[in-house]
Amino acid sequence: MEVLKEKIEEEEAAEREAEAEQAARRAAEKEREDTILNQEELIDLEQKLSEIEVHIPEDPVIFSKSTIDTSTLPPSYRANSAKEQLLLQVADNFARQYNHLCPDREPLFLHPLNECDVPKFVSTTIRPTLMPYPELYNWDSCAEFVSDFLTMVPLPSAIKLPEYLFSPTSVLKYQRGNCFDFSILLCSLLIGAGYDAYCVSGYATQDLCSMDLTREVCPLLKKPKEVAEEKEKVVPKKYTIKPPRDLRSKFELAQVAKKEAEIIAAQEKKRKEEEERLLELDKPPPDPMHGLRIHAWVLILCGRREVPESFFIDPFTARSYSTQDEHFLGIESIWNHKNYWVNMQDCWNGCKDLIFDLGDPVRWEFLLLETEKPYLSLYETEEEEEFTEDDGIENLDKEDEENNFDMPGSWVEQISISPKDFETRCPLGKKVIQYKQAKLEKWTPYLNGNGLVSRLTIYENVDCHKVVEIREWYKNREDLLEMRQVDKVSNWTTEYFKPGHFLALRVHIYKNMIPETERTMEFYYLARVDGLVKRTETSRSMTEYYEGRLDFLAYRHIDYGIRTKKFNINSADSNPRPLLKITERFNRNLKQLADDDVAERIFVVSEERILLRYHCREDYITTSKREFQKSNDVDNKGNKIIMTPDMCISYEVEPREHTKKLLFQYEMMMELKNQERISKHQVWESEMEVLEILKIREEEEDTHNLTVSIYDTKRNEKSKEQREALERQAQEEHMRQVEAELDYLAPFLVQLPPGEKLTRWQALRLKDECLNDFKQRLIDKANLIQARFEKETQELQKKQQWYQENQVTMTMEDEDAYLTYCSQAMFRIRILEQRLNRHKELAPQKYLALEEKLYRDPRLIEYLKVFV
């Protein structure tokens, strides 16, 4: 039946595709026909095109018993031990009683079949394991890992408990599972990490069961709640001055306030209506099976690992919910590796009223009588006793059976995750999550060549057509790019970098990479010599912010003019934008008087003016000012002007004597002229730096190399090579040792009858033979070298002869070849000569060494001793 359905679906899809193609073709043809389509039509076309959707049916994910290779599984998977058998009997008994007592409730999830068709009790499927990865020690990262690592497979039937429950090891191996598999695995890890965790079997909403997050806001987009800062009410002190009398009319004020309040109320109302409307839109369509959909999740009770309050974890999405959350509609039973409890509380109101006091037998019916009952408070013990008396038979029965009976150990093998799998996380290293108005994609580090690890696409509205913003996170990039944010509406790109790059760039906001356009660069100013914090550019200005400079410069703003056209375009030097004005602001230097400490310095380059504004003195409200007018050096009579009083207009808060002097002003002006030159140079340097940064950024973006940690032995090519080299070396060393152990007497010993003791005569002969042989070898070797030497010499002579004969007719190339040959031959000859000499030198020594060795040889030593 299902297969048929699939087929139909496929056919339908094919049809739709064909239709879509046709439509596109038609549209394209139409486009070709009237080439001058106006803008509106284009938009219309786009809209129409976007309406046509193609649904490619996905392969239905099948994860069933048949896909699992059961042959390699250990025996505990294939059979039940005696204790487990007993437990199953107990469970059956319990189920029978439960059915009898609560006939209208669904059957319990007690002992589903495992992958080998063997019934196993659910508690024994949990295998508490502490993983060797520190990331898995906390519940949030652990849940995230489980949700990333496994692919969700829906339950065979949404409203029926599954027949099979596979072991966590199989689930891990195939990286697939339903909600029960997810929960069991997560529970195993959490209990291993010390949490008081339980698997929960119950009912939940459709969204939760089908891992549908399209109605949830992406957690990355959630804004942190603003902590409302409570303004401390200032208690008026005894001598605080009274505010001046308010002379305005109280009535008028009241009227104005009333009007404003009305307007605000109206706006508020509108906003609320809008919100309500949006909420209405967001609400899921009514689900006919609401409250029947089976789901499994994890409960963590407070107490252990400093958990202050009990909460649920949804294993699909790794999100935590409070126990009162409305997504969870009811609980049938919960279990951990030690026991199994059935919920006896009414779930008419979801899980909101449930109390998780597992020691209370009225609320939670337990399967095994546990020895430790941490939650049982005193009065409840009494209650339980009463209960025992009332319902004597049943409980007596239970106690008889269960006295000293505890949960058998898990049949599952130890859970292990290889480091590679742990790093890869998601199956095939990629995962996509669809949120409300957003899509999150995740990749394993190093999977993408450019280091991309996750991308968040934000859409304009719920239908996810128009992209508003894209955020991309990177890892291990050589340029230390951490995140890139592209605003598709305004086209701004923002890049965030980690510290450690030589450019010390922190944030780069730009529209494009062309210089002299709008951009903002923020820097790690502590890493920079000049303490630059931020540089903002537009086409006509540049603003720089500094911090922590010794010259107290805090701000520099440059206004540019429009480029003038140059006629000598040939000249290589660039045509810089004309500087109009440089404004510099300084922080207060406490070592100087406020009247001597410049706060703002403006070089009006275009008007040849310099404006100075000084810092304000304490208790004063006006600041000293000075204005210099640079004029011509020569007055109208041709006399050289050095300094006139009208070149400097100044206002001083408190007139001082020495500042009135022309000399003072003259020196100051000279100094300022110098400063102006320096400032201009610095501006030029800044411009150059921007160009440099842009160039480097572009290059880096093109190459996007990834860095590999030196501790990452798998990826680090260099260390790998080194390691291999070391291994090779070790092997060679080994070989050499083997060689060194060669027995130089062996060839001679072979000639003698084996197994017999040597006679002295034989030993002497052996020694002599060995030595003679070695001597011969040495002589042979010398001869060989000599022969080669002679051959080389002859050849060279021949060649020389030939050269002399043909010298006249030879081309340059031939001559060159001859010369190189000569030099090479000479080299060879010289080497051979050296080798021969060395051999001659070493041969006697070697001979003596061998003789010595032979005397020492343990096989010969007793015969040769006499001679020594």
């Binding site: 002190k237 005894k238 001598y239 605080t240 001055i241 009274k242 001046p244 304000c616 208790d619 004063y620 409200i621 006006t622 050095i642 300094m643 207009i649 206002y651 808060v653 020495h658 002097k661 022309l662 000399l663 003259y666 020196e667 000279m670």
Partner: protein
């Protein structure tokens, strides 16, 4: 080296010489021309060179108050004087002169580099005030006592010392001695002191240096203790209850009282005195404690007032700054439009607008100031009332406690009188059988003498107590008036200053505008 300076006419530092030197050493080239035009003020000169001038006596340098560098080398100066007013001096060169003793340097607290090379100095001293001394050259003199080097230990920043050419350098341990006793020294005789020499010196003189250090430390500790005591006393004095936390006042009662000493020989009197003393001291102690508490209270009150005052002033200043900031933005815009305007009509209207803006600024600033003055006045008056109240309460209580003292004294007096009369009676009746010194026995010649003696003692005591009380009350009331006056005066000064500032600023703006006008018309 002996110079035959008798043969040369000694020179005198006079106006002409100074002027020449200043001009020669002043700014050069273009700046020099400017300087020449308007003349150089001796007050502004930073450095002065008067070498090879045959000067005999340092004189007429009092005008150069901002001088930091003075060179008087290669003269025939015999005595250091006339440098008292050059307090900013950092660099002083007196080498190659005929100075015989170090003196007249007490005011030069900023001196860092001092050269007395080639003089006739026999002893280093009288330089205690040169705490910043870093480089000291006293080579080619006639220092003959190596122990004199220890004097230089007080200069914590001394890094370079030149002693070459003195008789002490002939001594064999000269180098080791100096390095050992001056551990912070880096250069001796313009040579870096190497670690080896230092080590040798340290080992050689380690015991004597240890002793020296120990002595220095002890002196230091003593000094600190004294300072702590003084500080404590200052604190008590500030509370006007100094010497009340013990038997000081009681002891002072009997300090000049001869009669009481005599009467103390009577039987029963020592016991009486003992109880009197304990009671009296207890009252004094409570007075002392009360005084300290009251002092804290006054302090807190004053601090609170100043805090509020500061807040108000800062607030006002922030408003003023903002007003001016806003104004300046508008103003500069207006000026720019005027500058760029072509039509006279536009210029005129803009000018008027500008003038209006200035007037408005003036009004706003003055209103702010007046408002502040009113607010502050109120606050100051309330402060005045409170502080007077506090002082009044204090005075009242002090008077009460002093009255207790007086009561004790009266009580004691009565008892003493009784004992005296009894004794007299006994003596008269010859029943008194204890030994008494003759002068005491002389008192008991007749009743009048005895009563007079006891009465005189009593009077002295009462007078003492009254004096102490008066002293305390006068001091505290005068403090009270002083602080109130100060607050009033400060406020007045502040107000004047601010008004002056506003006026000055507005005048400047007006002026600027007027000048602008003028320039424009010319064009």
């Amino acid at each position: 080296m002996i110079r035959l300076y008798d043969a040369i006419e000694p020179n005198v530092i006079d106006e002409e010489l100074l002027k020449l030197a200043v001009e020669e050493q002043g700014p050069q080239e273009a700046a020099g021309q400017v300087a020449k035009q308007e003349g150089i003020n001796f007050k502004d000169v930073k450095s002065l060179k008067l070498d090879f001038q045959n000067i005999l006596r340092i004189d007429n340098l009092w005008q150069f108050v901002s001088l930091t560098k003075l060179q008087l080398d290669n003269n025939i100066i015999e005595k250091i004087d006339g440098l008292e007013s050059l307090v900013n001096l950092v660099w002083l060169d007196l080498s190659f002169n005929n100075i015989e003793s170090i003196e007249g340097l007490d005011t030069l607290v900023n001196l860092e580099d001092l050269s007395l090379f080639s003089n006739r100095i026999a002893k280093m001293d009288a330089m205690d005030s040169l705490v910043k001394l870093q480089v000291f050259s006293i080579g080619n003199n006639i220092l003959d006592n190596l122990l004199n080097v220890i004097y230089l230990r007080r200069f914590k920043f001394l890094r370079s010392l030149n002693l070459a050419g003195n008789p002490i350098c002939e001594e064999e341990d000269y180098k080791l001695f100096v390095t050992a006793y001056l551990p912070d020294l880096v250069y001796l005789d313009f040579r870096l002191i190497d670690a080896h020499t230092r080590e040798l010196g340290d080992t050689k003189y380690q015991y004597s240096i240890y002793e020296l250090k120990h002595r220095e430390n002890q002196i230091q500790i003593k000094l600190e203790e004294e300072q702590a005591n003084i500080a404590e006393l200052e604190k008590h004095k500030a509370a006007y209850v100094e010497y009340l936390n013990g038997p000081y006042l009681f002891d002072s009662l009997y300090l000049e009282d001869i009669e009481a000493a005599k009467l103390a020989y009577l039987p029963g009197v020592p016991e009486l005195l003992e109880t009197y003393k304990t009671k009296f001291v207890a009252v004094c102690q409570s007075l002392f404690d009360y005084g300290l508490i009251q002092q804290e209270k006054r302090k807190a009150e004053v601090a609170l007032f100043y805090e509020c005052l500061e807040e108000a002033l800062q607030d006002n200043r922030a408003q003023g700054l903002k007003t001016i900031d806003d104004f300046e933005k508008i103003h500069s815009e207006l000026l720019n439009t005027i500058r760029n305007a072509s039509e006279l009509q536009v210029v005129d209207t803009k000018m008027n607008e500008c003038a209006e803006e200035i007037n408005r600024l003036f009004d706003v600033l003055m209103t702010l100031e007046m408002q502040l003055v009113e607010q502050l006045e109120e606050s100051i008056n309330s402060f005045e009332r409170n502080i007077i109240d506090i002082v009044g309460v204090f005075v009242e209580n002090v008077q009460g406690l002093m009255a207790q003292c007086r009561d004790l004294e009266n009580h004691h007096h009565e008892k003493l009188l009784e004992i005296s009369i009894n004794t007299l009676e006994k003596i008269v009746k010859s029943e008194f059988d204890e030994d008494l010194p003759d002068d005491v026995r002389a008192l008991f010649s007749d009743k009048d003498t005895v009563v007079n003696a006891v009465g005189a003692s009593h009077d002295i005591h009462l007078l003492r107590i009254d004096n102490r009380e008066d002293e305390l009350i006068t001091k505290v009331t005068s403090w009270c008036t002083a602080i109130v006056d100060k607050v009033h005066n400060d406020e007045h000064d502040r107000n004047r200053k601010r008004v002056k500032e506003i006026n000055q600023y507005v005048d400047y703006l007006q002026n600027e505008l007027d000048n602008f006008d003028f320039g424009d018309l010319v064009d």
